[in-house]
């Protein structure tokens, strides 16, 4: 149990096939108490909380929209009041659209940037301020993406928000190191999450087979595998000296595609 006694918050945690759930469960399996936040999928969120409690850990579900700073500040206050000072914050909530570059709409742009980029800033800054006030250091982990290393057509805004998160995480790592706060990001490849349900490149069995051909390990990632990478970054002493880093958990997708 590498995270016993730690309190963690995970955003975008609820959906039964989502990466956030894998992160929440992996943290709980290593002994952390987990606040599970999502803007939707409340029933699945409550079910996740029950599973975490079944592991003998404390857990609670919180509904909040990370693109709204007021909601984020309230969320963090409530989590600390309910579960105690958090030491781990995983900014994972994300949305995607597929649109040709020259046809990207302002509505889609604003939605993706609001959740993926402004949401990351809101959660990252509010968490960092609280960790500094707590005076005990901490861990911040963003879910970025293989888009940080590789371009995917029709996903310009999504990919751009992830590159923005990469740069944000690096700047945060530089500035927060003296507070013993590490800031890293993980790069999932293909996960069969709800986010990918509307992917035009994954509509048929043949599409999936073609995608598997690009992945040396020849299968999609389970959400829990993303969570285990987060556990490593959040463990102490294992992760104490790792900051500003990008941990790609993609089955070799990026190296295989080149």
């Amino acid at each position: 149990m590498r995270l016993e006694g730690r309190v963690a918050l995970v955003t975008g945690a609820s959906h039964e096939r989502g990466i956030g759930r894998g992160i929440a469960l992996a943290l709980a399996e290593e002994g952390a108490d987990v606040a599970c936040c999502d803007v939707a999928f409340e029933e699945q969120g409550e079910e996740l909380v029950e599973r975490i409690r079944g592991l003998g850990r404390s857990a609670a579900f919180y509904k909040a929209d990370v693109s709204d700073r007021g909601q984020v500040d309230t969320l963090l206050e409530r989590v600390q009041a309910d579960l105690g000072p958090f030491w781990i914050v995983c900014s994972n909530a994300g949305v995607a659209d597929w649109q040709p570059w020259a046809e990207i709409t302002e509505e889609s742009f604003d939605r993706i940037v609001g959740v993926n980029l402004t949401g990351a800033f809101n959660v990252g800054q509010a968490a960092a301020r609280a960790m500094v006030a707590n005076g005990n250091g901490g861990r911040i982990v963003f879910t970025s993406s293989v888009h940080v290393r590789m371009c995917f057509p029709s996903m310009a805004v999504y990919g751009a928000t992830k590159q923005g998160v990469r740069a944000l995480a690096e700047t945060m790592a530089i500035e927060l190191g003296r507070h013993a706060i590490t800031v890293n990001h993980i790069g999932p490849g293909w996960v069969k999450s709800q986010l990918n349900d509307s992917s035009p490149g994954l509509r048929t069995k043949e599409d999936e087979e073609a995608t598997l051909d690009l992945i040396p390990i020849r299968r999609p990632s389970e959400p829990i595998e993303q969570g285990r990478a987060v556990v490593y970054l959040c463990s102490s002493p294992d992760g104490d000296y790792v900051t500003g880093e990008y941990l790609q958990v993609d089955g070799g997708f990026v190296v295989g595609k080149y």
Partner: protein, 191 residues
Amino acid sequence: MPGVTTHGLAASLDEAVKQALVDVELPVVVAGVGSQSRAAFLELDQGEWGAAVDGARSAFFVARRAVASWLEEDSGGRVVFVVSTASVRPVHGTALEATVGGFLTTIGQVGAVELSANGITVNTVAHGWLEGEPEAFADGTPAGRLGRADEVAGAIAFLASPAASYVSGALLPVDGGFWITKAGGGSPLVR
């Protein structure tokens, strides 16, 4: 009709770009993003964040609207995004320019993937610390001095020229070598 549209550039850079691009053969958009705020990350306020994101938003949509018309006319064209070297190598106090610069770089690279077959290239210039920035940045820059606007404009002019017809999706730092190493000195942005 070829023409040059500039957007979101600092005044001195905007002027230098217009001078350097007088003879373009294709329509060109040069759209930049950055932030005047050098606040520490913990002290950034919502307004500063919002302004930086709005800057990236308008830079993108200026380019995206131009590209839509180039596709319709089958004219080809060149997009050059302009970001700060902090987006490649962040330092203290650069959270905003690093983030929006990274954002714009990747949105441009995906554009390059989608548009290059239509004769439209999309590239990004990452400028270094230019004259007007704290002189102490010169100590951290291998070139040992701050950069000039015309040096950045020259790279943009190259990317807009026929010589760069096969350059698409590139990220060209014009920063005196800052992004590959820190030559010396502390960041003047540390508080």
